[in-house]
Amino acid sequence: MELIAAQLVNGITLGSTYALVALGFTFVYSVLKLLQLAHGELIVATMYIAWQVYEWTGNMVLGFVAGMIIVIILSLLMERFGFRYLRQRQSRFHEPIVLAIAIAMLLTELFAQLFNSGEPAPFPSSITSYGAAFNIGLTTFTEKDIYIIITALIVLFGFTFFLNSTKHGRALRAVAVDWKIARLLGIPVERAAIMCFIISGALAGVTGILLEAYLGSSYPSLGGSLSFKGIAIMLFAGAGSFIGAGIMGVTLGIIEVMTLQFIGGAWRNGVAFAAIIIVLMFRPQGVFGTKY
């Protein structure tokens, strides 16, 4: 019984990291109907920049700050020179996705070239240590687990509150529904897109910091696997639903950890994807999806 409870805690923590990644994708999709497939790479960019600054200066906090700033700048550059051009041209459905994939490939290649010659970049133990452990009931929560879970909850409820209850958030949702009508109603669509990319860049920064602590090291193709899982969770939960992305992220984390424990490591992804397929077969709009 303790084993199940301990693995449940592990699953919730892993699931919270997945949920954070999925929330980034959900946010950009909710506002711009765009699958920002480079989001995983932005997360890994934070990790690599923080690592590089740490190598140069020995100060991890400086690394985090530099990582977040540079990733927000990268996000803005993507918007300004890439996606805005496509939007003004009223591009067809597949073009922003291909552009995002191409940017993601470019970033992955740059990581392999510029940082540590493509070797996995380990992070110092001051970050990756588990911290104090708290015993609650049958299980043990460590400090690291608590940080990750609390951050995921804050981001989740923060985004939901922002998009539903504040003026700026509702403006962003109006842009998502129909940007031409939103422009007629006086909402500055260009500024909305810029704000969306800034927020998602900041979220990528925060997620990168937490993943640094959780994973211990990063490697160039990490961005691809994060994007993959993030998009899968987003579509599993129903595109546009934040609480859904959060819950489904945690569920996927728990499924993966339980599979790891009771069936064996190699089946991890298989069981998780089997679950996703079966649910999507019966409910194509995703578990929490609304319009279809």
Partner: protein
């Protein structure tokens, strides 16, 4: 044939042919508006089934190929029928198809029948792969030109533009979707069979998301609107890393920069309908 073409050139040509076939298998569903990306799974099914029948039971190549393709078609029908409930541009389709090929890959990786993590070695080498693969490419291009100009092809493109309007005009959506999926799985399985019998060694890591992204990029960058698109896209994007070998480690960076440039400035792909009209005018006038 072996003496005329050197080994490296031969392998480049074979790979281009295999990838052209795979790119067509991705191109057809894209033409119909379905973001159907389960092709690595069908490639794996074709490859493993044909490899098993070749190696264990000593079947000749043609028979193995037919068995691999038949299994792929059967799985496509079984898997396609529940997928009919998705609408044509729905995002559920790519996720379900990615899930499908991930499951196939994980099964190939874990079951000892398929060699487990060590792979599946010693498949009988098929020495006529080069002419057979290019012959298949020619047949497929001819088939696509006939298909896309026929009533069926116009139905497929109608489904791409507006599913409900097409249905209201008498296009049987379910039949056409199944047809597109079956055709795509046949092509993917053909690619898998040729791959297995040329490389003679199968590893489950080959049939991955990475392969899928490559063939999708060949299809999209080559041109989605005509059937010459996959051919041109595969040839150009496959030769690019080969020709820039001197640049060694920066190849990938340059490759992705070129992709970004293509998608920003020539979104319809390298080969568009206008391009073909102009080439035909230049040749024939």
């Amino acid at each position: 044939m072996e003496g005329i073409i050197s080994g490296r050139l031969e392998s480049i040509l074979v790979f281009i042919a295999i990838y052209i076939i795979l790119t067509f298998s991705v191109w057809i569903p894209f033409r119909a508006g379905l973001l159907w990306v389960a092709q690595p799974g069908y490639m794996a099914i074709g490859a493993y089934i044909s490899a098993m029948t070749s190696r264990e039971w000593g079947f000749p190549f043609i028979l193995s190929m037919l068995l691999g393709v038949a299994c792929s078609v059967a799985v496509a029908i079984i898997f396609g029928i529940p997928c009919l409930r998705f609408k044509t541009r729905a995002l559920g389709i790519p996720i379900v198809s990615i899930g499908f090929f991930e499951i196939v890959r994980v099964c190939a990786h874990n079951f000892p029948l398929f060699g487990g993590s060590m792979g599946y070695p010693n498949i009988p080498f098929f020495s006529h792969t080069l002419p057979v693969s290019w012959f298949l490419v020619l047949i497929i291009v001819w088939f696509m030109s006939r298909l896309m100009n026929s009533r069926l092809g116009r139905a497929i493109e109608a489904m791409h533009d507006d599913e409900e309007a097409a249905a209201s005009l008498g296009v049987n959506l379910n039949v056409i979707k199944l047809l597109v999926w079956v055709l795509s799985s046949i092509l993917a399985a053909l690619g898998g069979v040729l791959y297995a019998h040329y490389i003679t060694y199968l590893k489950s890591t080959v049939f991955s998301f990475h392969l899928l992204v490559s063939i999708c990029l060949f299809a999209v960058a080559g041109g989605m609107t005509t059937y010459w698109g996959p051919v041109a896209g595969t040839i150009i994007l496959w030769l690019l890393p080969e020709l820039t070998r001197e640049l060694a480690q920066w190849r990938g960076t340059i490759y992705s920069c070129i992709l970004i440039i293509i998608i920003l400035f020539r979104p319809n792909g390298i080969v568009t309908k206008n391009f073909i009209i102009r080439i035909k005018a230049a040749i024939f006038h």
